[in-house]
């Protein structure tokens, strides 16, 4: 403190410089961040992307993830009318069955789209009665295309008319007429056929009725119908989630088992030979550095797609990580405990078992369990690459670009699965590590 009174001058200059530097740094760091982000914006062409972004896709995605549509399709050549949910074969109504809002008498099919919107498939003409606009009729024929008659006045923009095609999109639904077929979509909220497909006898039953059936000995059949639901494939999805968790489990604990003995070779206190130590550490670094992506690619060539490949990819990558963490933990082991065990005349194996292992168990377990959770996420990603587990189902559903309700379902399941694993590993960690404290 005395120096301050004597040498206040130089000290003040030093402080001023320091403050100036800190003040400049205070501006320089945010400025650097902004500059970098600006460069990235430019490099990634974010402005161009904004124009390329497809709002239509966004609308379909959002609408489809919480609603579904039922198609009523008339083959204009044969006059046959079919009903299918989402227009898919597995969602088709069996012969003789039709939705309650469709009435068929002879050659005429009347489709009620609610709010006064009514579509009639006649023997020759298709009519759409639009409240507040009028009646649109269209006669498809092979030779003359689609001949449409519209109310007087300008054609509104929600009607798309050309020689061979008429498309009307309203809030109630959508009608498309071409030469070969006429099709009506009616939209509904919710996920269609989530529990039972149309060919199941339990379709359309209330929860009470189902419970009654279940109690009278049909529980097996009901569960079976849900499990083998062709639309949602609950059985396959459950298997896929099981596979993903299995990959994470096998990979994480397999890596732990492989890494533990190897970790001893990479420590200063247990491995006196420097060369072995160096080599082991470089092997760990190499395995970690090669990265799970490359391991996945290489292993997929040898083992083909499936959960085993994913498990092995996680196992190999994490062996490197665990090896590093474990050997660091082993280097911090307290020698006194080992000496104490040795002084009772313990053999080397016993020295490790009672002198070393109890010391590193908490680190080991908490790391393993921490990685179990993060590997559940990795297993989802690796599954998308190798082809296994829920990751594969998700990528398949996204590639078809129409089953967004399934995508939404899988996303919910994945998030729940990861949260469950997070909770489970946290719970186990608390139990195991706490339990250990009392015993030793």
């Amino acid at each position: 403190m005395t120096t301050m009174d004597i040498n206040a001058g130089p000290l003040k200059g030093q402080m001023d410089r320091l403050f100036l530097r800190k003040r400049l740094l205070n501006f320089a760091i945010p400025a650097a961040i902004v500059l970098y982000l600006g460069y990235v914006c430019f490099a990634f062409d974010v402005l161009g992307l904004w124009q390329r972004a497809s709002l239509d896709n966004a609308r379909t995605l959002v609408a489809d993830s919480y609603s579904y549509k039922t198609h009523v399709t008339r083959d204009n050549r044969s006059g046959q009318v079919t009903y299918a949910i989402e227009g898919e074969r597995k969602g088709e109504y069996p012969d003789g069955m039709r939705p309650a809002w469709v009435a068929a008498t002879g050659d005429t099919t009347v489709i009620d789209l609610e709010d006064g919107h009514v579509v009639r498939f006649g023997p020759e003409t298709i009519e759409y009665d639009i409240p507040g606009y009028g009646l649109v009729s269209a006669t498809p024929s092979r030779s003359k295309g689609v001949q449409a008659v519209l109310p007087e006045g300008e054609v509104p923009e929600w009607i798309n008319l050309s020689k061979n095609r008429l498309a009307i999109t309203t809030d109630a639904g959508r009608l498309t007429v071409t030469r070969n077929r006429a099709e009506v979509f009616r939209y509904f909220m919710g996920w269609e056929l989530f529990f039972f497909t149309l060919d199941s006898p339990y379709h359309g039953m209330g929860a009470g009725a189902l419970l009654g059936r279940a109690l009278s000995g049909e529980a097996g059949a009901i569960v079976n119908d849900v499990w083998t639901n062709k639309m949602w494939r609950h059985g396959d999805v459950a298997w896929a989630i099981g596979e993903t968790i299995l990959m994470a489990f096998l990979g994480t604990f397999g890596a732990g088992l492989v890494a533990l003995p190897l970790a001893f070779l990479g420590t200063r206190n247990f491995m006196p030979v420097g060369l072995v130590r160096f080599a082991t550490r470089r092997v760990f670094d190499f395995v970690r550095g090669v990265d799970s992506l490359i391991w996945t690619v290489v292993l997929a060539r040898a083992f083909g797609p499936g959960p085993l490949t994913g498990a092995l990819a996680i196992l190999i990558t994490d062996t490197g990580t665990f090896g590093k963490i474990f050997s660091e933990a082993l280097e911090n082991v307290d020698e006194k405990q080992i000496e104490g065990v040795a002084s009772t005349g313990a053999k080397p194996i016993q020295r490790y078992r009672f002198g070393v292992i109890p010391q590193i168990t908490p680190v080991l377990l908490s790391q393993l369990l921490y990685f179990l959770e993060s590997n559940t996420r990795s297993a989802t990603i690796i599954g998308a690459i190798t082809g296994g587990g829920i990751g594969l189902l998700l990528t398949q559903a996204i590639i078809t670009q129409k089953d967004w309700e399934e995508v939404a379902y899988y996303i919910v399941l994945i998030v729940l699965m990861v949260m469950l694993m997070d909770w489970f590993s946290g719970w186990l960690r608390k139990r195991l590590i706490k339990g250990d404290e009392g015993g030793h």
């Binding site: 990634f44 992307l49 604990f253 992506l293 499936g306 082809g387 996303i411």
Partner: protein
Amino acid sequence: MADLTTHAPRTVDEIRTQYTELTRRKRLYGGVLLVLFIAMMAAGFRTADDRNAGSFYDGIHRILDYPGEVLAEASQKAAELPGHMVHFFPALIETLNIAGAATLLGAIGGTVLSLLSTRGMAPWPRLIPVFRRIMDICRAIPEIVVALVLIYLLGGGPVPAMIAIALHTVGSLGKLFSEVNENASLKPVEGLYSTGASWAQRMWLGVIPQVGPNYVSYALLRFEINIRASAILGFVGAGGIGYELKNSMSWGQGRYDEAAAIFILLFASIVVVDQISGSLRDRLTHGARKGATA
């Protein structure tokens, strides 16, 4: 220890019986757990093996075939490797940029969320659980889910991957940051509050200087992880070196030299970044020798 205090033994014999009893029970529990664990591993392995396209025992011989082919072809065309590396270097830069931008955005978002969800610093203490849940959800969603959906919306390219990784980074860094915040002293915050500083000023001047080094250290660790993630997302169509790797692999034999060049680039960049960030983190957490006077 608890057993000794609750029921104090009187004689040596009693101590011995109690101790053997305790050990036996512990061994039994340990044994049961071990057997259970081994059974689960074995059953899991069998199941995974059954559901895999190729079996483990068939594949294990072939494990080196692919790396062997790649290496053989790469060594044949060793002269072309540097050229390929130069060719794929922009893709590598893109992958690094995705990781860098995602880490930055994630760190900024994580900082804000962590300050909003730490007791004593949060401006709206009642909303702390809400912000915590937001971070949990961000952490739980795997990057690939967000990336694939965004690729559908925005088209392929680096931006979907960046957003996906940034979202995940917000969650994971937010959690780590709020743990750091718990240990920060609240006195500077109170001091600033008494001078009438706004919430942003209190955080920027009172908290950030305390937690800065730890934040940067965690962000660097995250950057290492994010490089790997961005390479993987490239493989499913998000641009960068992963995308190039997928392309060169689908060409199959004859183009393995390109794949080899990409392998080398990816490996080298991961190792280099790991080393640099490792030593930086070491300096940040254990204190720099040079910076001690500042």
